[in-house]
């Protein structure tokens, strides 16, 4: 397999095959908490995309120097570093967004998906594949958040990106936490169906839920 095809597969894997939210069922807390609107979902997704990619690259660069006994704390340090970078950068350059999202940005440190990619992929692979894996996972997470946010905001508030489209609230429950689980569950089922129907998959791998 040529390198390009391999990288492309790694990238695509994060979006379809092992989508963090819909297939691995990791980081479900933020997927419910910040998806009451498309905008907040998108911004969160972008922040995670950046942290995921950079954490993967850094972990991969340092993988020879990390003592296996202290690898998890080390990964946490790396992730925390990049989260701090994101946090400070946002506070400096996008103040209005930061006022709205600041609390959640700090919580990225605890996202299961980022640590799990450091542990499962970046610590065993070279820098370039790790970069594409992180990119794929980040884009997959971003897409999942935007899709969930799209349905929740449209049905719950009748608006998209804060702009009113329908003048009523068709299904108020969708912006409540309960509706977040409904939307996520139905979309998860839909993604499984697509995978089984068109890609010959076996359905979700059953990785189980996780905190963070």
């Amino acid at each position: 397999m040529s390198n390009t095809a391999r990288y492309w597969n790694l990238f695509r894997n994060g979006i379809f095959g092992e989508n963090p939210v819909f297939r691995l069922a990791l980081s479900l807390c933020p997927a419910v908490a910040v998806t009451s609107g498309v905008k907040s979902g998108f911004l969160m997704g972008v922040a995670v995309l950046f942290v995921q990619t950079m954490a993967n690259v850094t972990t991969s660069l340092l993988r020879k120097f990390i003592n296996p006994k202290v690898r998890i704390p080390t990964y946490m340090f790396i992730i925390a570093t990049w989260v701090t970078v994101t946090d400070l950068a946002m506070a400096a350059f996008a103040r209005d967004v930061y006022a709205q999202m600041g609390l959640y940005i700090k919580l990225i440190v605890a996202f299961a998906i980022i640590l799990s990619r450091s542990e499962l992929f970046a610590s065993k692979n070279k820098v370039v594949p790790s970069f594409f894996d992180g990119l794929g996972m980040g884009v997959g997470f971003l897409l999942a958040l935007v899709i969930i946010g799209f349905f929740r905001e449209l049905l719950g508030k009748g608006s998209l990106w804060g702009i009113q489209i329908i003048d009523t609230k068709p299904l108020l429950i969708m912006i409540l936490p309960a509706g977040g689980f409904f939307a996520m569950g139905i979309l998860m089922g839909f993604f499984n169906w697509i995978d089984i129907k068109f890609f010959g998959g076996k359905g979700a791998s059953g990785a189980g839920g996780s905190h963070g």
Binding site: L171, L172, I173, L176, A178, G179, F182, G189
Partner: protein, 343 residues
């Protein structure tokens, strides 16, 4: 029982494993029949709208079960009456005012039925596998999605004519907002209040108002041994005791009015017909009593301290979660088995 014989001998079906003449469909139709008096009283008080809302729920429940099973190529089970009963129970838990074209709320009962059948029952594997009572999840979903339309209560008219009834508050809403004094003022005197509540001449959901009709149906079910006394009695008893102790607002302990609390809201409908749902309540007697006490305590907590005037729905749903846990906790010890020594 043709279907049972054909099954593979080594495949164990879900509990209970008691063989009897009774079939699922017979139980479902009998329970539906026992709800009929309460429904008729609801139609009498709230007019044809009540009948339309209930019929809409039943039809959409049966259709959504049919099309979901057809779409997933599962065995069609619409004839066993469980979808009919779910639709009926959901319809009886809705206000008759939902049958209205301006503002348009006809879709509300339909969506409730779809949520009840598809999300609560079929997605968990069909009848016998659902964790929650389908009709109550349907109602909870509607309650959160259209809080205004779901609490628009028609004034009972007792004349089979009125299409445009006035809206008013339920007794529990008055009790929560203005206290017991105002409630007695509305109904005249205390005796009149009790008798009106007993007959069902008050604002509320279609099937919950007439206590006499509900008790009549419940007595029939207990006589037929389809439900036992454990859940209803522990449920109602807990509500009575707790409202007696804590129900008095500002007048100290032991001054509450348990009769008023027993006769109002969806308590009778919930205690006899929804909490006793075989699938979602514990199957051990001792567990059923714990289940009933939990339902009662949560109902009183929500009624007296919560944001909603009525708490039966959320109480039963919350206790549904605990049903498997309760069953595990109270299972009887095996005869002759020794207790494991603590290390």
């Amino acid at each position: 029982m043709e279907a049972v014989k054909k099954e593979h001998p080594l495949i164990v079906s879900i509990s209970p494993h008691i063989k009897d003449e009774e079939s699922v469909s017979r139980i479902m139709w009998t329970v539906s029949l026992s709800l009929l008096p309460a429904l008729l009283m609801g139609v009498y008080f709230f007019g044809p709208k009540a009948l339309f809302v209930t019929a809409l729920c039943i039809i959409s429940a049966i259709l959504s079960e049919h099309f979901f099973q057809k779409g997933l190529k599962r065995k069609l089970t619409t004839n066993d009456g469980s979808a009919f009963l779910t639709g009926l129970l959901l319809g009886m838990n809705l206000p008759a005012s939902l049958w209205s074209f301006n503002p348009f709320t006809i879709h509300v009962p339909i969506i409730g039925s779809i949520v009840a059948i598809v999300i609560t029952k079929q997605l968990f594997g069909g009848l016998g596998y659902n964790i929650f009572n389908p009709a109550l999840i349907g109602r909870a979903f509607l309650m959160m999605s259209w809080p205004r339309a779901m609490t628009l209560w028609n004034e009972p008219t007792a004349a089979f004519v009125a299409f445009d009834a006035k809206t008013t508050a339920t007794p529990l809403m008055i009790l929560k907002e203005d206290g017991i004094g105002r409630l007695i003022e509305v109904f005249g005197d205390k005796l009149n209040l009790y008798s009106q509540l007993l007959v069902g001449h008050r604002a509320g959901s279609i099937g919950e108002t007439s206590i006499i009709a509900l008790l009549f149906g419940a007595a029939f079910l207990i006589y037929k041994k389809y439900i036992t006394w454990h859940i209803p009695v522990s449920f109602l008893g807990t509500v009575a005791v707790l409202t007696w102790i804590f129900g008095g607002k500002g007048t100290g302990l032991f001054t509450g009015d348990p009769i008023l609390h027993l006769l109002s809201g969806g308590l009778m409908l919930g205690a006899f017909f929804m909490a006793t749902d075989y699938v979602t309540c514990p199957s051990v007697r001792k567990g059923q009593i714990i289940f009933g006490i939990g339902c009662g305590a949560l109902t009183v907590l929500i009624r007296l301290k919560g944001g909603y005037p009525e708490g039966v729905m959320f109480a039963i749903l919350l206790m549904n979660c605990f049903a498997p846990l309760i069953d595990r906790g109270v299972k009887s010890s095996i005869f002759g088995a020794m207790k494991e020594k603590k290390r």
